[in-house]
Symmetry: C2
Subunit: 334 residues, 2 copies
């Protein structure tokens, strides 16, 4: 695979490579019409494409950013990536996507390699384990933004859902519909900010309303067991707030296997809307987060930082939206 360089073009057009470079960068102002023509056709004939790697070395800019997500298979990550890629495209940037699987070592590895590749900035859904790494990035002035999560003490702007409001909306909706017992389903907390925030708010609301807490928290398989046991003991609350899409999958699987019907046996409200919620049977009431906007704003901020604008380190909270469908039973207006 032979590569055409600026030298080949220069030779073909019988000029120096400087002149070709001028031509390529649109500085024809003071250039003979004939030279210009010769270069133009040489470029065309040879199908010359400038080598961006060489340019990057000179410019100290790679026109590439990195995105580190936990797992691209989660729809939230997918939407974030899509939003960022769209924005990057407009800015003439490319996006390197990495899956860190919530593993601090993988994450660290990716960050090091992305830096070594001189990417101009990084968007991360960060792992708690690497707090030091991120403060280091910040200290070096490496353009970085967080999405979905927040790391205590890392001076990095963060773009995420207003989790407290999300839980409050879900809770209020259930209360309005006359639910007196509300459970909460989540994956293990793992120091992950949104999970923690959602659970904390749930607890606070239970306390405030003098309600018992039912927490079903664990890896996928244990969720089903817990639900099953509660159902056996007839202690399954009439309503469940489900903390995210993966937890929802487990709940739906469990209900199906246990033969429990929504909303008659259990009412469900999920945080983080998913595609099928709308046409599920019954359609699932959700508190949706504006994943796409979150991604877009994170990108806007990152490019701002890359372009040297001052960006105060702050946490940007996005407002959730309650979408009422059919999975919550109305006991209030019976």
């Amino acid at each position: 695979m032979k590569r055409v360089t600026i030298n080949d073009v220069a030779q073909a057009a019988r000029v120096s490579k400087t002149t070709v470079s001028h031509y390529l960068n649109g500085r024809y102002a003071a250039m003979g019409a004939d030279t210009r023509e010769r270069i133009s056709s040489a470029v065309h004939d040879l199908n010359y494409q400038p080598n961006v790697v060489a340019r990057s070395l000179k410019d100290k800019k790679t026109m590439t950013i990195g995105i580190i997500v936990a797992n691209i298979l989660h729809s939230f990550s997918t939407q974030i990536i899509r939003a960022i890629e769209d924005y990057a495209r407009i800015m003439n940037y490319h996006v390197i996507v990495c899956n860190a699987d919530n593993d601090p070592y993988k994450e660290e590895d990716y960050i090091k390699m992305l830096r070594a590749k001189q990417v101009d900035g990084i968007v991360v859904i960060p792992t708690e384990g690497n707090a030091g790494l991120f403060t280091g990035l910040a200290a070096d002035g490496y353009p970085t933004v967080f999405v979905d999560r927040i790391i205590e003490d890392a001076p990095v702007p963060s773009f995420m859902l207003d989790n407290e409001t999300a839980v409050r909306e879900a809770f209020s909706h259930l209360m309005e519909k006359g639910h007196g017992a509300i459970g909460f389903v989540s994956q293990p907390l793992c120091e992950i900010a949104p999970r923690r925030e959602r659970l904390d708010m749930y607890r606070r609301l239970c306390r405030k309303n003098d309600m018992e807490t039912f927490e079903i928290i664990g890896e996928p398989d244990v969720v089903e067991g817990r639900i099953s046991r509660l159902a056996d003991e007839e202690k399954l609350p009439g309503a469940l707030i489900v903390s995210n899409d993966l937890a929802l999958f487990e709940v739906l699987k469990a209900l199906k296997r246990l033969g429990l019907a929504m909303p008659d046996d259990v009412s469900i409200i999920t945080i983080d809307d998913i595609a099928f919620a709308e046409f599920f049977n019954p359609a699932i009431t959700a508190v949706a987060q504006p994943a796409f906007s979150i991604g877009t704003e994170a990108a806007r901020s990152l490019f701002g930082i890359i372009n040297g604008e001052e960006h105060p380190v702050s946490i940007h909270r996005f407002t959730p939206e309650l979408i009422i469908r059919e999975s919550v039973k109305d006991y209030a207006n019976e």
Copy 2:
């Protein structure tokens, strides 16, 4: 953001940059223990990271590949990307992800930019419109593989589902269950190979079995209209083969809005299993494609080509798997 270069390290360790380079590349064989020690601590103290861009320029290798998908929001693309990224990680590669939205211009643009960035290879879910572009890539010997689709005349290896078998399995299953009228739902063909192949096979099977064809083909919104009209005229076939996940979404939305029940009013079998099929009500019978394996094999092939192995241009077909669930009514054993 000051950057530490190999020169800084050399200076700090009071050796030449050559020696540092030797050290970095593990050639300590003939190196004084003290020099080695000095370099080691200099690297550490300065927190030096080699600049991969400079190395790439020299090596003519970027350790980066590109993936162009139609839209990362489709779960098939997501799985392909994840599989490829996993493989790339093992090979110490990074992956640039691009969304071409089935737009030949965007696709061409991305390919040009990826080449300009000197990525070592490209995985594409290709658009028909760019056949010429791909034959050009092939002619230049640029490592390229296709996934999911195939472009007539482009000498590029392709990794995709055995669509004919997939449709045949779906069709046979419905016939076994006593269905005499089978419809087919698809997005517009747009010259996209798998859509075409699936439809063709459907037609062939109808003809072979002396059955009427019911084709519901179009953009999302028209699908619902067509189903609705057929239902009104009482001409909706008792069973529908749905060509992919997006088409399935539309079908499910339509059924819900029209108050049609699965499988009593309509039986459904979908090609391309999706996450929620398993716990949907009723659970949806599907012909699943091994997206992850397809991605992995495509990656394996691409890296083979990158590493100079001979790879005959061929089409690799992957076997689908029928997963029987609850969305097909059994008329045969009533």
